[in-house]
């Protein structure tokens, strides 16, 4: 569905952000894009949506070059950016203005999402708090029913009940035909939704695996004495003990700890990558 090949991009001369970056994403999944601040998560998402253009290489989405921004492409992709602007109009007028660009827009679904998120439907968008605006935008994004849905830090600014509602609406939105890409720092908000992990670091994609493959090959556990564990690939020690990653020797079914995996891949990349090769 998304096919990025040898992508090169820089905002400034001699300071490349991406260097021959490759990434393939398929429909039917929710991808979690993880990376440090400044690693290029938002930039990569904007490349997919056709808001930034490659310096070299290609970014193809649904068979279209996203940089060409063809209408047939734009009506099947929606990006919820981290920072956004909403005009000084009512929710109703917003829908009337923007929904016609999306042929599969479901207005009934939109208003039921708003209800789910507890957003008053006849308020001016500019009179809303950041979190409320974000929920309007997320509701709109889901209602467009585009084949590709990209969200940059969607849980930022959401209050505690909204995070649970967000997980419910995303779980309901998944389908075989849809590719959902979410970048996030708050992995704990979404770790049961994300089914594939993509880690970006040092100008490249350094890790891309299904959660199922990860837990088939690695074990995540907490031990009180690290000496008792064998084959530790990464450990994080705190008062409660040591949370560790080891090779999954048998058929353990541990729960993935995405924060731990992220830190492990960044600091101890080679031995972990070898396990997946």
């Amino acid at each position: 569905m998304i096919n990025i090949q040898s992508l090169t991009f820089s905002y400034r001369k001699n300071r490349p952000l991406f260097e021959s970056l490759n990434l393939r994403l398929e429909a039917g999944h929710i991808y979690g894009l993880l990376g440090k601040n400044g690693a290029g998560k938002s930039t990569l998402l904007k490349q997919m949506a056709g808001l930034l253009f490659p310096d070299g290489g290609s970014c193809e989405v649904m068979g279209y070059h996203s940089a060409k921004r063809q209408p047939a492409f734009l009506r099947e992709i929606f990006l919820v950016p981290e920072e956004f602007y909403l005009p000084k109009i009512s929710v109703r007028r917003y829908v009337n203005t923007y929904a016609p660009f999306y042929p599969n827009f479901d207005e009934q679904a939109f208003f039921s999402y708003l209800k789910e998120f507890d957003i008053p439907r006849d308020q001016q968008l500019t009179e809303m708090s950041y979190g409320q605006k974000k929920k309007v935008l997320i509701s709109f994004a889901l209602s467009t029913n585009t084949k590709v849905l990209i969200m940059d830090e969607p849980t930022n600014g959401l209050d505690i009940p909204s995070k649970s509602q967000f997980r419910k609406v995303i779980a309901a939105a998944v389908s075989e035909e849809k590719c959902i890409v979410i970048s996030t720092h708050q992995v704990r908000d979404l770790d049961n939704l994300i089914d594939s992990i993509v880690i970006i670091d040092e100008h490249k994609i350094i890790f891309r695996e299904d959660v199922q493959t990860v837990t088939d090959k690695l074990s995540f556990k907490t031990v009180s004495r690290i000496e008792e564990a064998t084959g530790v690939l990464f450990a994080d020690s705190n008062l409660r003990g040591h949370t560790i990653i080891t090779k999954n020797a048998g058929s353990e079914h541990s729960k993935i700890d995405m924060e731990l995996l992220f830190n492990a891949v960044l600091t101890n990349h080679k031995p972990i990558q070898e396990i997946f090769n």
């Binding site: 997980r167 779980a171 998944v174 049961n192 939704l193 837990t215 907490t222 079914h253 541990s254 729960k255």
Partner: protein, 123 residues
């Protein structure tokens, strides 16, 4: 449902469904909620619930009626007890046995405790 950090989510969901059956909330031959409904209410990826259903189907606790959904098997209770028993013997007994050995506790010595426990909890 509150998930623990120790076990894969799909296994925890399988345990949850099995528990509903043991508690008689879902009866044999009853249709269980759809994959999508379960995913939404548990706030997890539908693919995870699919994996749970594959596991439960393989254990013959649920079965699939094409185009309708998953149903609880007629002998689901028996199957669940059988799997839970195996898991108990495999996972929990070793640490109990270890303590019994370290503390010189004989099996017969435990019997009255077990009888008392059953009386006060399940009568």
């Amino acid at each position: 449902m509150e998930f623990k950090d120790t076990q894969a989510i799909y296994v925890q969901i399988a345990d949850y469904i099995s528990e509903q059956v043991l508690l008689n909330k879902w009866q044999p031959e009853e249709r269980i909620p759809s994959v999508r409904e379960l995913a939404v209410s548990l706030e997890v990826n539908p693919n995870t619930v699919m994996r749970t259903c594959e596991l439960l189907q393989q254990q013959e606790i649920i079965y699939n009626k094409r185009g309708i959904g998953y149903f609880i098997s007629p002998d689901a209770v028996k199957k669940i007890k059988q799997f839970k028993k195996e898991a108990f013997i495999h996972n929990e007994l070793p640490s109990l046995f270890r303590n019994m050995y370290l503390l010189d506790v004989d099996l017969d010595e435990l019997k009255p405790h077990f009888e008392k426990f059953k009386k006060s909890n399940f009568n």
